[in-house]
């Protein structure tokens, strides 16, 4: 079998993989930010809510999170009379991965926020900024820059975790590879999986390059 045929077949699954990656990362970041905000509240009930979410999600394999999303969400929606059985599988994949990765992003955001020098906030207040502007102009950008290496690692981890959606029968790059291997009775299995590994690696290289560019832009910002 020609290498080009393998590559073209696997790349047919790339749009699903990338859509899953981008959407999951976006929603996981929203969940992570919201949970970090809740966690840092002085209100013990809100803070405990975030801790419970963290505890459950971090103690559960991502594969299981996808299965819970795929089998559990339709039942949950059915309770309020909404039938989501026919919804696209990517929806369940995005929910499972977002909930699963949100907890790790929460930890990245929260630890970064806590490590911003307190003097930066005080300086912002001392020049007359209100709490909102001190947060938006000074604390949040610095939190983001501190969290960046962890965010990069988590995004790379998410690239690989997208392959887990095969359990729901979703057709992504990994699923295309196993299909192609099965169609050829496993004869070219190794070659197919090596090419698949290289494709995932290329995505990771691209992400690393993007983050490197970002770091280069902010190379003089030492936090």
């Amino acid at each position: 079998m020609k290498v080009s045929k393998v590559i073209v077949t696997l790349l047919n699954g790339l749009p699903e993989t990338l859509s899953l990656l981008v959407a999951s990362f976006f929603f996981a970041s929203l969940i992570g930010l919201s949970m970090a905000w809740l966690y840092l509240r002085k209100n013990p009930i809100l803070s405990d809510l975030a801790k419970i979410y963290l505890g459950i999600v971090r103690g559960t394999p991502p594969l299981l999170m996808l299965l819970l999303s795929y089998f559990g969400l339709p039942k949950l929606f059915a309770l309020v009379g909404i039938n989501i059985n026919d919804w696209a599988k990517i929806f369940f994949g995005i929910v499972g991965l977002s909930v699963g990765w949100g907890a790790y992003l929460e930890e990245a955001f929260r630890s970064a926020y806590l490590s911003v020098d307190k003097g930066q906030y005080e300086a912002a207040l001392s020049v007359g900024m209100d709490v909102k502007h001190a947060f938006l102009q000074i604390l949040m950008p610095q939190t983001f820059l501190i969290a960046l290496p962890n965010i990069e690692n988590l995004l790379i981890g998410l690239v690989k975790a997208t392959s887990l959606v095969y359990v729901m029968g979703m057709v992504d790059m990994y699923s295309k590879a196993t299909d192609l291997s099965n169609q050829n009775q496993g004869v070219y299995q190794l070659e197919i999986f090596i090419i698949l590994a290289l494709l995932y690696w290329l995505i990771v290289l691209l992400i690393e390059w993007l983050f490197r560019m970002f770091h280069r832009y902010y190379r003089y910002v030492e936090i």
């Binding site: 300086a123 020049v127 007359g128 102009q137 610095q142």
Partner: protein, 247 residues
């Protein structure tokens, strides 16, 4: 009277740091607070712009009476927008360039347009000869340059009082002179200042009034000559005789 503090008390858990401070400052005065480390000098400064909140006491600032134990957010913001602070560790915003550090307070504290704020910031940077550093981030600047920009960041706001919290303590000795020069220049222009420092020569040469602080109390206050040459209190004499610096 620009600022009057009455019976300010502050406690951290069981440690009483300020034991009822009374202090008055007139416009144009340079009040230098000296005293041993840990005596509460910095805490006093931080209570004036409410980075710490006092347990009790009264403050009158620009004829506005404030109950220090019960301040509204508006009162806190109002005081902060009429004062400015220079920090021991500079605390320049690490994610902002020199010019942004100076313009941020004008934009977000004084609602000036970005264009006007940048013009003012440029002019201020130029006045201290640091215009060529306008696009530098704090990490690219020396400690002395950072602190001088810290002073510009404070004074560009045209505050009624500038609070200096040991502005030269974190600097290498050879950089102290330039910062003190900028401070003296400000004092000469009539800027009201409260300065916590261990630079006794600055206190002697620039202060209108020296306050000796120890154990959370004002022990002695007077002109530089009164405090340094004719101290009345035993604690002041002990402190001054223990200082190696030739003041």
């Amino acid at each position: 009277m620009l600022l009057e503090i009455k019976n300010l008390k502050k406690k951290f858990v069981n440690n009483t740091v300020l034991k009822g401070i009374d202090l008055s400052i007139n416009a144009g005065e340079v009040v230098v607070i000296i005293g041993p480390s840990g005596s509460g000098k910095t805490t006093l400064l931080r209570n004036i712009n409410f980075l710490e909140q006092a347990d009790s006491g009264k403050m009158t600032f620009k004829n506005k009476r404030l109950n220090l134990a019960n301040l509204s957010n508006e009162e806190i913001l109002w005081v902060r927008r009429h004062t400015a602070m220079v920090f021991q560790n500079y605390n320049l915003f690490k994610n902002k360039t020199a010019i942004e550090n100076i313009s941020e307070g004008l934009i977000f504290g004084q609602n000036k347009s970005k264009k006007v704020a940048l013009q003012l910031a440029k002019k201020s940077l130029d006045s201290v000869g640091l215009l060529d550093k306008q696009d530098f981030y704090p990490a690219q600047l020396s400690g002395g340059q950072q602190q001088r920009i810290g002073i510009v960041r404070a004074t560009v706001l045209n505050p009624d009082i500038v609070l200096f919290d040991e502005p030269t303590s974190a600097l290498d000795p050879e950089l102290v002179g330039t910062v003190l020069y900028d401070m003296k220049h400000l004092a000469d222009q009539g800027q009201t200042m409260i300065v916590v420092t261990h630079q006794m020569s600055f206190a002697r040469n620039v202060a209108s009034r020296v306050v000796f602080f120890a154990d959370g109390e004002i022990i002695e206050t007077g002109t530089p000559s009164e405090v340094f040459d004719h101290p009345k209190n035993k604690r002041t004499k002990q402190f001054l005789s223990a200082i190696a610096e030739d003041y």
